[in-house]
Amino acid sequence: MSWILILEQSLNGLQFGLMLFLLAAGLTLVFGIMDMINLAHGSLYMVGAYLMATLTQASGSYWIGLPLAVLATAAVGMLLEVSILRRLYQRDHMTQVLATFALILISNELVRIIWGAQPVMLNTPDALSGPVDLLPGLSYSAYRLLIIGVGLVVAVLLYFLVTRTRTGMLVRAGASNREMATAMGVDIKRLFTLVFGFGAALCAVAGAMLGPILAVQVGMGENILILAFVVIVIGGIGSIRGALVGSMLVGVVDTIGRAFLPHLFREFLPPAMASNLGPAVASILIYVLMAGVLFWKPQGLFPARG
């Protein structure tokens, strides 16, 4: 177990965490402002990846496909908000779970009808398909570096947007006290459509970035959605800062756990058992983390509500 391996896995963890952040940021704002559980958030991620695959193929370029897919997914998100989700804000959480669960069924099936049941190909751009030498002895996939770069840029932009601009201030006001924000004259309805479209756009960025690494297939949004929920619960619902810290924690803990726990277990367990137990404990680790956080800090690490 050399330091090069540790460094490489940390980069992987960072990359995964940043992509989780893109999903969690939208989710936590939706959750925080409207007190709405949106299980269909993962479907937007899936739709984003599929649109990316199609638009990249149609335009022949990854770099033209990306902005088009992001815009198209944002439009889909806003349409969804105006037509259906808006009716659910005043309903209880159980109803929201049911309705957005129905939306998952609908979107999975629509995607299957449009694109077929087989996974769709989405390639990395040619220029970035090889590895780069970061340090002597450490070569790392150029495409994964791009993901880290894009993730960092979006995270910083988002942070400034939410903490330093007027729109961001309104969003934060809405998240910490919706009634008060409305009373002060904030048009929460319009603001929320905007936030939702923005969240959908972030989903599309994550889907487009991860598409070439993971498979673009029906149901791809469901597992990552649960991880995004874990992130926002750890970070504190409605808090962008919490979402960032939570995603980094989950991304790094999950990746490092998967990479090193089997090694660690081999030290004191029979090899067969270690190779079985390692990945399982690694998968469970983040849920233990979440349960632990909820146990000691029931509002998450950075509670948004004042």
Binding site: V97, L98, A102, V230, V233, A291, L294
Partner: protein
Amino acid sequence: MTLFSAAHHRWLAMLALLGLVVFPLAMQALDQSFYIGFACRIMIYAIAASSLNLILGNGGMVSFGHAAFLGAGAYVVGIMMEEGIVSAWISWPVAVLASGLFALLIGALSLRTRGVYFIMITLAFAQMMYYLFISLKAYGGEDGLSLPGRSSLELGSLSLNLKDEFTWYYLVLLLMVLVLYALHRLMQARFGRVIEAIRENEARMEAIGFATYRYKLVCFVIAGALCGLAGALLANQNSFVSPKLIEWTQSGTLMVMVILGGVGYHYGGAIGALVMLVLEEVISSYTIYWQLPVGLILLAIVLWAPTGICGAFSRRAQHGKGH
């Protein structure tokens, strides 16, 4: 107070029971034996959904990880069978106890949180269970475990053949009726009144001296144990157990059944299971894209019939508020 009075309810229930008793005979006469197994599946899910309805509807605890107990029950039967213990007298009670024990652990921790956090932490525990069973390579891991057959059941010197569709059907029917009756009695008893009162106003119940946490925990454990029974039956029904039983979408489906049928209504879980599975079956016979119409119907129900099917036939519209 309701469209159907209590006497009507009793008549309807008796009529439904009569229908269920003659159903396999009718199906056999019509040469449609496939539907006997299908009905068994519905009744098993009716038990599972009713157990969820106990905490969701009566207790107001929105658990998003109920499939954990379904999986636990199923895996106990599966693993014991793999190890050579086939007697239902041993493995089914162990399945119920094990699920109850899991529910005690999960409930004891989860019930310290409320609202959205409760939803999420129950989900997290179910996910842990999901990955735990995926890692059990000795018992099939991700691919699941095929069972050699069904459990064996001896009554004195009489040995019931559970592979026989009729015997199996009537056993499942008996268990479902027992569970529904037990839940009915439970909710009529003092315990049930306390649980519903806690749902309505926990602070007040605490103030007048009820140990609300303990009541909720007991309720959670009962629901988990009953769902474990459904899991044990499901393992027998399918002759197969796999981590798919514990996937979060399974918890979602159970929740959908309860909401569809009517949250907090006594037959809500059973009716929801019936309608949901029949919908799936009917629509999937017309199109392979059955999830699309099912999703649209669910969405329509949420938007226009929020109290579920039982609620639509009853004027006590505010009966089933979640929280």
